[in-house]
């Protein structure tokens, strides 16, 4: 499909043009189908080659409450959330005044004419749209009118900004998967609204988009889809889960793909998905499956993990591989179920009673969500341990630009599993009878058999109670001490299997550490800091326990700012605990309000602390 150059606005552009650098916020009512319109704008801009991100700020509600969608357009590729809104589209009468007040001075306020606020601001450029009339005239059946009404703002915005109508058409084609009637109906509304705007609106604002080549070869996806696909290509065999925002789509998307790609020609499935009765069941099922030799996972969020903690300790101590996706939301308690946070770091790292320390992976973008989706199984099976992938609502449910997903570059690592024929050879080689928890290789990782191995001597009895190297029950103090220290050794030496930190920077004396989705704000934050005269190095943690590079980074910098989306600076606390010798140079830049961090907040906080 050919993209036409963007149409020129009807009137002469304002003197000061702002091209490909602003944020658009659409204020609508939850459940009115505005998501289709918002995604259409996002995708059309992306198709025009312009870097974009989309953030859905939605309530925990199915229908009726206000919801906002913010699209950031930025030619430099700075795509973190901003606090400034240059263009606000008001479709919700309940919030229209607040929405108008969000607009930056000189910005655009585009509102449906039936919700005209009393007293338009003088310092914004206001346009009204006859939304209901255009929806009525669209010929859409009454039950679809609310939906097509949302297409009106797409058309008007396309006119005002110069969004390519062919790109919009491509976005609709994609969204409706080629269902011609739906595409036609929506497209006709967009075009009608565009024509109406052309005839009736005089463009008085400076904002405009222009085609670029910055998105060529890239895709748009949400992190939950990426994670699900990663698990699919990781050869996942067992999924047990219980619905909870924002992890639900991950499990549902995964099941969808498993049904598509993992059914044999004879109709038999090479996987099992069970929607469990609760998270207690979900994790215990996954542990049973992992123990039995399946690549097993569950996906949940904070409240579910709170229920799972006892079982997490069992998996740790009985050494059962299992993958747990924590798509974090705001806690404690039910908290803000539809907002984002990096608030489970300390909780998950130490989840369960007694001595534990867990492996956490931190995907920062859709490509890492995919990669960790398959790699987590390799790590879990290699280390015979639970592995937690710490996504969050921002990554999981919002749309991000990324590379097409890359096929795993390594074969599946099933770890030290002994089948019937392996056991005899093993015993000859190692010169000892096999024992489930024997550390014969010195890496702390024992060999395991799994149920179904019929060779005499292959079976063992697994328990969460004290056990020796041969899995026999014991309360011997010496054995307990030995076993938990052997497990600790396994985690220490096993760090080599975890993704290493990513570093960037000229080698200055100020360092920044971040992890997960806060990475999105980092290029811009560092750019802002540089303009304030503060050059920075950057290290992004991708796994816990820490790799040695993290300590080296602390050692090399006078001051290190740890950026994260939680109240108390959880990663900063962990770093101070692990590296007491550098504790005084570790400074926390932490904030939680349910929204992704902005680059301005990060830069201002660091600049402020640098004094």
């Amino acid at each position: 499909m050919a993209l036409k150059p963007a149409p020129e606005p009807a009137s002469a552009p304002a003197a000061r043009e702002v091209v490909n650098d602003f944020s658009i916020t659409v204020a609508t009512i939850n459940g009115t189908g505005s998501q289709t319109s918002n995604l259409t704008i996002l995708r059309a801009l992306f198709r025009m080659g312009i870097p974009v991100s989309g953030k859905n700020i939605f309530p925990s509600n199915i229908q009726g409450l206000p919801t906002w969608y913010t699209i950031r357009v930025n030619k430099h590729g700075f795509l973190a959330r901003r606090d400034e809104h240059e263009i606000v589209i008001a479709m919700n009468p309940a919030t229209v005044h607040d929405d108008m007040n969000k607009v930056v001075p000189g910005g655009v306020f585009l509102y449906a004419d039936h919700i005209r606020p009393q007293g338009l601001r003088e310092d914004v450029i206001a346009y009204s749209m006859p939304v209901n009339r255009l929806a009525r005239e669209s010929g859409a059946p009454p039950r679809l009118r609310d939906y097509v009404a949302n297409m009106v703002y797409v058309g008007v915005l396309a006119y005002l900004l110069g969004i390519d109508l062919e790109a919009i058409r491509a976005a609709l084609d994609f969204h409706f998967r080629g269902k011609a009637k739906a595409v036609e109906l929506n497209d006709s509304v967009v075009r009608a609204a565009f024509r109406w705007a052309e005839e009736h609106l005089e463009k008085r604002d400076p904002y405009r988009v222009a085609p670029m080549e910055a998105t060529q070869g890239l895709i748009l996806s949400d992190g939950n889809t990426a994670a699900a696909l990663g698990a699919l290509f990781g050869g996942v065999q067992f999924v047990s889960w219980y619905p909870i925002t924002p992890s639900t789509d991950l499990a549902e998307t995964l099941e969808h793909y498993l049904r598509r790609y993992r059914v044999r020609p004879d109709g038999k499935h090479t996987f099992a998905v069970i929607q469990a009765e609760d998270e207690l069941a979900a994790i215990n099922m996954a542990i049973g499956a992992g123990w039995a030799g399946l690549r097993a996972m569950t996906a949940t969020s904070g409240p579910g993990l709170s229920l799972m903690t006892e079982a997490i300790g069992l998996a740790y101590y009985a050494e059962v591989p299992v993958v747990v996706w924590d798509v974090q939301r705001v806690g404690p308690s039910t908290g803000l179920p539809t907002r984002t946070q990096q608030g489970d770091i300390l909780f998950i790292h130490f989840a369960s009673h007694g001595d534990t320390e867990h492996i956490l992976l931190f995907p920062a973008n859709i490509n890492e969500a995919f990669e960790f989706g398959w790699r987590a199984f390799d790590i879990a099976e290699r280390l015979q341990a639970p592995v937690f992938v710490m996504s969050d609502l921002d990554l999981g449910m919002n749309h991000w630009m990324g590379q097409p997903f890359a096929y795993p570059d390594q074969d599946m690592d099933r770890g030290k599993v002994l089948w019937e024929e392996d056991l005899e050879r093993w015993e000859q080689e190692k010169g000892v009878p096999w024992g489930r928890y024997l550390d014969v290789d010195g890496d702390g990782i024992p060999y395991r058999t799994v149920m179904g191995n019929r060779r005499p001597g292959a079976s063992y009895f697994t328990r969460g109670t004290g056990h020796d190297e041969y899995a026999r029950y014991t309360e011997d103090p010496e054995v307990w001490h030995r076993m938990v220290h052997r497990i600790k050794k396994k985690y220490r030496l096993g760090r080599k299997y975890l993704p290493r930190p990513v570093e960037d920077g000229p080698g200055t004396e100020v360092g920044i550490i971040a992890y997960g989705t806060t990475d999105a704000a980092m290029p811009e934050a560092r750019y802002l800091l540089e303009h304030k005269g503060i050059a920075t190095d950057y290290l992004r943690i991708r796994a816990l326990p820490f790799h040695d590079e993290v300590g080296d980074f602390l050692a090399r910098h006078r001051a290190v700012y740890v950026v994260e989306a939680n109240r108390d600076g959880q990663m900063a606390m962990l770093l101070r605990m692990h590296y007491p010798q550098w504790a005084t140079r570790i400074h926390s830049v932490a904030r939680t309000d349910g929204l992704p961090l902005t680059a301005t907040f990060i830069a201002d906080s660091i600049a402020g602390q640098e004094g």
Binding site: T270, A272, M412
Partner: protein
């Protein structure tokens, strides 16, 4: 020489670690009957996998079948643990061992849901009316009015595991008594051949904390009040049905299981139809009024219900846990297809010429 069974194993091949349960504990008798049943049915211990929760009853699997894999998991979570594991190799037969606290209190939710899913599992509740391992508190199955030295009198109505199982849609529900080894063994055999979840609620007295003769879970009371629904016999598929004495029609019922094995129910004092769920519930209700311990095969559904493995459409030719990368990781071309068709793409220079 110890007697061997048809596959050349002795009873000792079915034993586990020496028991650490109290002498006389009903749970030990249950273990003996599981061992005897598997020995007599010529089941290879390697073809069995054991699961349990937490409690004296849940410790019990350690003391049998040391040649089988086993997983002693968390308090109340045995059904979930077994569900995940058994999916991995559907050629194995699962035995789950639980207690009245484990199943009817902390694990009630999982119990009800594993029934709905009809997981092929022999689910034994070793029911003593108390929490043995935590030293004798009231369990949810304790009868109202039970008086224990340290805990006073139980003011609450009991949970009836069999009634819950029936209401939950179980396809096999039985009650037995650790002091009735013959019946218990026959029920274990039948449960083993049932194509779905088989619940056996076994009155299994705790000699240490709840064995006063007036207590309903004591040996004395249970022995004096046991009211069997029928005399039971289990005949494996390979054996011909030989009935030791000729019977009048209506005196016995023959129930054929999915694999050709047969359960013969010989009438005791009235005809009882174990394929009628309503009748089972009524019989239980009546047993409360008559203050008797009703035992036997309360309910069985031999056809019409899929088990969990069938619902999940699992292959029969190869266990899931033996599948390799070739079977589990879709080809690179699949990912290319997903990238191309399911993902929205950015600017296409080839088309735009930009």
């Amino acid at each position: 020489m110890a007697r061997t069974n048809a596959i050349g194993l002795t009873k000792a091949d079915y034993k586990g670690a020496p028991t650490t349960l109290c002498q006389g504990c009903g749970h030990n008798s249950i273990l003996s009957q599981i061992i005897a049943a598997l020995f007599e049915m010529n089941v290879r211990p390697e073809d069995v996998v054991k699961f349990s929760g937490i409690g004296c009853s849940s410790k019990a699997p350690t003391y049998m079948l040391s040649r089988s894999f086993g997983f002693n998991g968390l308090h109340g979570r045995m059904p979930a643990l077994a569900t995940g594991a058994l999916v991995a190799d559907i050629t194995l037969k699962g035995i789950g061992m639980s207690g009245d606290g484990d199943t009817a209190s902390i694990g009630m939710g999982h119990f009800k849901h594993v029934l709905r899913r009809n997981l092929p599992l022999v689910y034994i509740v070793a029911n003593n009316g108390v929490y043995g391992l935590t030293k004798g508190q009231f369990a949810p199955t304790a009868e109202k009015g039970l008086t224990l030295k340290r805990h006073g009198t139980n003011p609450y109505m009991p949970v009836d595991v069999c009634m819950e199982a029936l209401a939950g849609g179980a396809t096999f529900v039985a009650r037995s008594f650790a002091g009735d080894p013959k019946q218990l063994k026959a029920l274990i055999k039948a449960a083993f051949h049932h194509n779905g979840l088989a619940v056996i609620d076994v009155v299994s007295p705790c000699v240490t904390f709840n064995n006063e003769p007036s207590a309903h879970y004591s040996y004395g009371w249970a022995r004096d009040h046991e009211a069997p629904l029928h005399r039971l016999d289990f005949i494996p598929p390979e054996e011909e049905i030989l009935l030791d004495k000729p019977m009048e029609p209506g005196e016995r019922r023959v129930i054929r299981l999915h694999d050709g094995s047969v359960v013969v129910l010989e009438q005791v004092d009235r005809d009882y139809d174990p394929t009628d769920r309503f009748a089972a519930m009524r019989a239980l209700e009546e047993s409360y009024r008559r203050e008797v311990l009703l035992t036997g095969l309360l309910y069985i559904e031999t056809e019409g219900r899929e088990n969990l493995f069938q619902v999940l459409n699992l292959p029969e030719d190869k266990p899931l846990n033996r599948m390799t990368q070739e079977e589990l990781r879709p080809a690179a071309s699949v990912l290319e297809e997903i990238n191309a068709k399911d993902m929205f793409h950015g600017a296409d220079v080839r088309v735009n010429g930009r």
